[in-house]
Amino acid sequence: MLLRCRIPLSDFELDIDASFAARVTAIFGPSGSGKTTLLDAIAGLKEITAGEIEIEGKILFSSTRRINCSPQERGVGYVPQEGALFPHLSVRQNILFGARRNDAAGQTRAATLDHVVDVLEIRSLLDRPVTQLSGGESQRVALARAILCGPQLLLLDEPLAALDIGLKEKILPYLARVRDEFRLPIIYVTHNMTEVLTLADWVLMIRRGRLIAQGVPKELFHSTTAIASMDENEIENVFRVRMVESDRAGGRSKVRTEKGLELYIPYLQKLADPIFQVRLSADDILIGTQPLEGLSAGNIIPGKVRDIESLADQAVLTVEAGETFYVRLTPAAVARLQLRQESPVFLIIKARSFRLV
């Protein structure tokens, strides 16, 4: 995929030049950085001053070759943040709205409808008016509608942003299923690091219209450039772990990370898949400089500060403690504890601060 475009916006110019071949590419950046504009440009809904957009070998836009495919011709399925379901149509009518374009497949359409409906678990909603759907249901219906139009590329614009945390955790697996079942290239806009780490193979980080970094999410998020770009965003630590033991009476489970670090997390029943991901906000880690006793926290992990990234009103520490941890503190706390590179520290983490991805 080739994404090269320049678009004037009200207070800055969106200027992106990227080439990537991942199945799921996340566009990651703070609000107002031009992420939605970029998706609109790919879908043909926003005028581009100059550039070139090529998806799966098909040129959608080229200012030099004077090619500008209409949104109808681009073959993209677009799920906007608000879902944008047609309020006067039923769920079935909504998801079949674009299926006419997919009718080249003729007889196979019904099977495709069945498949999509089953994967997203929306069969019971088919004859409901869309005005009666919850936020999570609306997003799944919007996703089904976009998939059924037979796209070459799926554009997802913060599909979880309008949902509360509980719903987000329910919808995220559906997105992973869409990725795995339909094997469509996906461009996924988000400002949430967990979503990037869970779903994407490649990430483009943009800020105020500029591409500041791109790469494999896990690697990119370990670089200081990545941290510096996140400012107001939530910073999270995500670990792939294997269940070691579960203590129901104690209300906690012991897990082991890929590097062998053992962590206590809230109690979990045995999962079908013993390997899973947990996340931990960088704001939920306390730092101590002395060995501490008599604490209620389940995890007290010794480590060393590898790096301190100072931003305007916050400091993000990279701590090596059997795994790499990001910890966000106030600059005052860093000064008070006299933290610097190589300072020995103890990470204090409550078991309940970990969440399942």
């Binding site: 879908a43 949104p71 109808q72 993209v76 677009y78 608000e82 944008a84 709205f97 674009g98 976009a146």
Partner: protein
């Protein structure tokens, strides 16, 4: 003459020509309202102003302009006359006067209802492969239909009450071009108060029903 044959004839004639004028202006009004609501084009504000002029100009002035355009001495009037089409002092003149006078109300109302349709829905429909016409008829119009119907009712009500432009273009000829308002004027002029009040009652009832329906539709459109 309460509900005499003449009363019925005048009422039915006014309703029929009013309805015909509304039907004639509806497609043009909807198309223009959509262009105003959704597109940017050169001279748009000038055209908008011209369309709204009959709303603020004295109706008699509009009637005079129409008479100059369609009168037999004008090129258009002459051209039509040579093809056997007479506008002046004819029911067609009534229809044109009603259409021109009610057109701005229709356009304003429909334009507002189109503006209230979320353009994001139309954009998403385009990415799903829908043509411009399909988007218009399957997304935009159904979502704006209450405003369109309300606008049509308002235009129809305005057409029923039309007086100034009609009297100049079509005259006030009984059983030929006489509408409710022209007949009321005629009866008052000739001291026939009973007939005038009968027709007044009819116009009040008709106006109340149509305006009430129009307002109800606009209110329910806003709620949804």
């Amino acid at each position: 003459m309460i509900f005499s044959l003449d009363t019925w004839q005048i009422t039915l004639f006014t309703l029929a020509v009013g309805l015909a004028s509304t039907v004639v202006i509806l497609p043009f009004g909807i198309a223009l309202a959509w262009l105003f609501a959704r597109k940017e084009w050169p001279l748009k504000s000038a055209v908008e102003t011209v369309v709204l002029l009959p709303l603020v100009m004295p109706p008699v002035s509009t009637g005079l302009i129409l008479l100059k355009i369609f009168g037999r001495r004008s090129p258009l009037g002459q051209w039509l006359y040579n093809r056997g089409v007479e506008i002046v002092f004819n029911w067609k003149g009534v229809l044109i006067a009603m259409a021109v006078m009610s057109f701005p109300l229709l356009v304003r109302s429909v334009r507002t209802s189109f503006s209230e349709v979320n353009p994001r829905l139309e954009q998403i429909a385009a990415t799903l492969g829908a043509s411009g016409l399909r988007i218009f008829f399957v997304i935009t119009v159904p979502l704006a239909y209450k405003g369109i119907v309300a606008g049509a009712l308002l235009a129809f009500s305005r057409a029923l009450g039309e007086f100034g432009a009609t009297i100049l273009l079509a005259g006030n000829i009984p059983r030929r071009t006489q509408t409710l308002s022209l007949a009321i004027f005629n009866f008052v002029q000739t001291g026939n108060d009973t007939d005038a009040y009968t027709l007044l009652g009819i116009t009040v009832v008709l106006a109340f029903v149509f305006v009430w329906c129009s307002e109800w539709l606009l209110r329910s459109a806003k709620k949804t």
